[in-house]
């Protein structure tokens, strides 16, 4: 009421006010403003906290995105006007964060070799390769291990080689170094076969005859394993203390049990400056190759030092593979054709069944229609993932209800052979989908004016003619968009296929890709990305994803263009 626009009584003022208000949506109420401010403040607080945490982790780009996003949101909601943005912002922000970003990331991944063997950057690959191969150096000294803490509280190893009279210390932050005082002390203890040790800077413990161990030294105090967490124990056990701090020999001391340490030789020696591995046994040098592997001499077809590589951009290679790989072509062509057949037949069978049932019940005299309807939509009301599981049990060859009880002991391999499995998938999808089609065709049939059928009957049209020439065209106008949506949905009906057959039965001819008889594109892509026998290949899977998206989007757009939906939009 205190709005300056609501004063004055002259006509022009009133008019100006209403136009202005129609645009801005009236006078903001106090309560609304308070709620708005509180919500914005909460959002800002959370964002600033997030940005602060990210800042501490030096994640500059996310910090910038968070802050800029926050500023934009505040601006959107605090200014006057700009209503559409106020209503669209929440959805659009989520959309950008979780769909648009995902789309772009998928698109980028499609041009890389990202996968289980190319999981991260080069450093990750190097440490994984180095972790793989090493063996003990014969004749090298063994060390008794004592855990010590340095003056910063970090855990280090104190290694005693009593036989050679040598004491070393080293840890993750301390390069391996000898402690001369301790070396000398231990030599004396062993040489004199002493049973007691004088208190000194370097503390020696005598365990038995001729066995002694250094337990502390200046700057290093005794520690016990009891104080270690599991993670600390594991990382200490994995620690490699290189003999040469610059590591050109690949020799290191390592202890598995934190009791005894031995000298090991890496099979592959990493050269940080040249970014190459040297294989000790035959002196072959492996350099970076363009495909994200270390290969002999860095040649594109050279021997790989390991199956482990790093992630690199490989241009159109994934797409090239999809269109040219001989191993992939056979299963892929089969899968693509089955995907279209499956989607088309699913729509067709459910639609025909739904329409037939709708016509069956389209008689005003029939009683109990509500009961029929309630029972018939049960498959649709039942959660789809459960249906898939249930049918999987029902269709079991040996113990399934369908073979044993309904077909009287038949042994139809519903899920284990390709053709029956395809029929089974379609039958189950018919079960899942016919109620939906029944509901929508019933609705559409009821919307057709009765006068049309009546006048056609009077003109002497047969019922079949009425159905074909009057009802169907009208029906299709209404439900064509739904049929298209249904096709698109079934084209990517992962839940049904994967939960019912897992795409199986496996096709033995599809070497390495695990393609199965009922696999549709999307389940095949899922296998490539997450469970393929030939290793997980995210890059290839992403390339497929993009192609599928293009197929479905193109199909849908073209179809929608021919139907009502787009007219609505216009």
């Amino acid at each position: 009421m205190t709005n300056p626009f609501s004063g004055g009584l002259d006509a022009s003022n009133v008019k100006r006010k209403s136009v202005k208000q129609l645009y801005d949506g009236g006078t903001p109420s106090l309560r609304g403003t308070i709620i708005k401010i509180v919500l914005l403040a909460l959002l800002d607080a959370v964002t600033i906290f997030v940005a602060f945490v990210l800042f501490m982790r030096e994640q500059w780009l996310p910090v910038a995105v968070a802050i800029i996003g926050m500023l934009i949101v505040n601006w959107l909601y605090l200014r006057r006007g700009g209503l559409p943005a106020k209503y669209l912002a929440p959805g659009v922000i989520l959309l950008i964060a979780f769909q648009v970003y995902v789309l772009f990331f998928s698109a980028y991944t499609a041009f890389t070799n990202y996968g289980s063997y190319h999981n991260g950057d080069q450093n990750l690959a190097v440490s994984a390769i180095k972790a793989a191969g090493f063996g003990p150096v014969e004749g090298a000294p063994q060390y008794d291990v004592k855990l010590v803490q340095d003056d910063k509280g970090r855990y280090n190893f104190m290694l005693t080689d009593a036989f050679n009279g040598k004491v070393l210390v080293g840890g993750s932050a301390v390069p391996l170094t000898e402690i001369p005082a301790c070396s000398q002390a231990i030599s004396e203890v062993i040489a004199t076969n002493a049973t007691t040790v004088a208190e000194a800077d370097c503390k020696i413990e005598i365990l038995a005859d001729n066995i002694a161990i250094a337990v502390s030294a200046p700057g290093y105090t005794e520690a016990t394993q009891a104080g270690l967490s599991k993670g600390q124990t594991n990382s200490l056990a994995a620690l490699r203390l290189y003999l040469d701090p610059n590591d050109t020999q690949g020799q290191f001391i390592k202890t598995e049990d934190l009791m005894v340490a031995v000298t090991n030789q890496e099979e592959l020696i990493w050269n940080e400056e040249e970014k190459s591995f040297l294989r000790v046994t035959d002196g072959v040098v492996f350099n970076e190759a363009v495909d994200g592997y270390f290969r002999a001499g860095g040649a594109p077809d050279g021997e790989k030092v390991s199956d482990i590589g790093w992630r690199v951009e490989i241009g159109l290679k994934n797409f090239e593979k999809i269109f040219t790989d001989e191993d992939l072509r056979q299963p892929l062509l089969k899968i693509i054709s089955w995907t279209f057949i499956f989607a088309a037949l699913s729509v067709l069978t459910t639609f025909i069944a739904g329409l037939a049932i709708a016509l069956l019940f389209n008689d005003d005299r029939m009683r109990g229609k509500r009961v029929y309807r309630a029972l018939m939509i049960l498959p649709y009301a039942f959660p789809a993932f459960l249906s898939a599981y249930v049918w999987r049990g029902l269709l079991d060859t040996d113990n399934g209800f369908v073979n044993n009880a309904i077909l009287g002991g038949a042994e139809i391999p519903w899920l284990t052979e390709e053709f029956p499995a395809r029929v089974a998938v379609l039958l189950v999808n018919l079960w899942l989908g016919f109620p939906y089609m029944f509901l929508i065709t019933t609705g559409a049939l009821q919307a057709i004016p009765a006068e049309l059928t009546e006048s056609a009957t009077i003109d002497g049209a047969t019922p079949w003619q009425i159905l074909r020439q009057i009802k169907m065209p009208l029906l299709l106008v209404t439900i064509a968009p739904l049929l298209i949506a249904s096709f698109a949905f079934n084209f990517n009906n992962f839940t049904l296929i994967y939960l019912l057959t897992e795409g199986g039965p496996l096709d033995s001819a599809s070497s390495g890709y695990d393609a199965g008889g009922t696999d549709i594109l999307i389940t095949f892509v899922y296998k490539i990305a997450f469970s393929s026998g030939g290793g997980q290949d995210y890059g290839l899977a992403s390339a497929f994803s993009i192609l599928i998206f293009i197929i479905v989007a193109t199909f849908s757009l073209i179809s929608f263009r021919r139907t009502r939906t787009l007219e609505d939009v216009n």
Partner: protein, 305 residues
């Protein structure tokens, strides 16, 4: 089958005639419809009868029974809640929690957007609607790799939203909320007469008052249906949940129930069916209860998925 349909108008007006129909006439006009209808109903409900029967069958039968309702016992239902390795009650709670949080937020968010598309005119409105249709066609499954990678990254800084966290999963589901319900609700908002909000505007109502006080109230049945459909869609999702969640106590029903039947050596069909019945009952009841609205929702283009 259409014969009777076409003849119907001739016969219906004479009401006494209907009562006098001879059995033979009745059969050719309506009886066969009932017969076919019953066959269809049988096809529709036998799997459901079967799992109810199996879930009530005592003894741990590995692959279920082959005759329906031969023995009744609640044993499987009791066992279901006592399996420490497969915490059914926790899965149930997780599913309901994830489903409710996500469906409420996503319906609210898409209702906001639908209002903008329906009532406001702005640049890019048509393009926005079009892209919604296209986004609807993009199953989040295709972005699985990216989602997986993104959650790993987020988890490094904010473990509560990373991999194996339910909040992370909720966020991923909400990311798709604009695509799933907006278009449908846009259609329904269009059916609310504009005169109503114009009248309210002239009376000095703010746009939020119009939105919350008028439009949302008028379309509340639609919101309920949309929430139910969204809830069903989310709780039925297998693949995203399977990729994101891995700890036994954080699973949802779709992922967890699979454990009862996936391993051929330890599968437990009795427990699975008991779990399936319990998971399905609330949804089926809600579905039947809201049936009328769902049908009109379907005509607007919703696809349960």
């Amino acid at each position: 089958m259409a014969t009777a349909t076409a003849k119907a108008p001739k016969e219906v007006p004479l009401k006494f005639k209907k009562r006098r129909m001879t059995p033979l006439r009745w059969f050719f006009a309506l009886g066969w419809r009932h017969l076919v209808g019953m066959v269809i109903v049988l096809y529709a409900i036998f799997p459901i009868l079967y799992i109810i029967s199996t879930s009530l069958y005592p003894n741990n039968s590995i692959d279920g029974t082959n005759s329906l309702f031969v023995a009744i016992s609640g044993e499987n239902y009791v066992n279901l809640f006592q399996d420490a390795a497969r915490p059914f009650a926790t899965w149930y709670f997780n599913t309901v929690y994830i489903g409710i949080v996500t469906s409420i937020f996503s319906v609210f968010i898409s209702a906001l957007a639908a209002y903008a598309f329906s009532r406001l005119r702005f640049r890019g409105r048509r393009a926005g609607l079009l892209s919604l249709i296209v986004i609807q066609m993009f199953p989040s499954l295709l972005g699985l790799v990216a989602i997986y990678g993104m959650l790993i990254e987020i988890g490094r800084t904010f473990p509560a939203f990373g991999l194996d966290s339910q909040l992370g999963l909720v966020m991923i589901y909400m990311g798709g909320s604009l695509g799933t319900g907006t278009y449908l609700m846009y259609g329904f908002f269009n059916t609310v007469p504009r005169e109503l909000d114009e009248a309210a505007k002239i009376d000095g109502a703010t746009h939020t008052q119009i939105y919350f006080g008028i439009i949302l109230r008028l379309v509340s049945p639609v919101l309920a249906v949309q929430m139910l459909l969204s809830y069903i869609g989310i709780t039925s999702d297998y693949v995203l949940a399977a990729v994101v969640l891995s700890k036994p106590e954080s699973l949802t029903l779709a992922v967890g129930l699979r454990q009862f039947i996936s391993d051929p050596f330890s599968r437990d069909w009795s427990m699975f069916t008991a779990g399936a019945v319990l998971s399905a009952v609330p949804i089926v009841i809600l579905f039947l209860y809201l049936q009328k609205y769902i049908v009109s929702g379907l005509m607007g283009g919703a696809v349960k998925g």
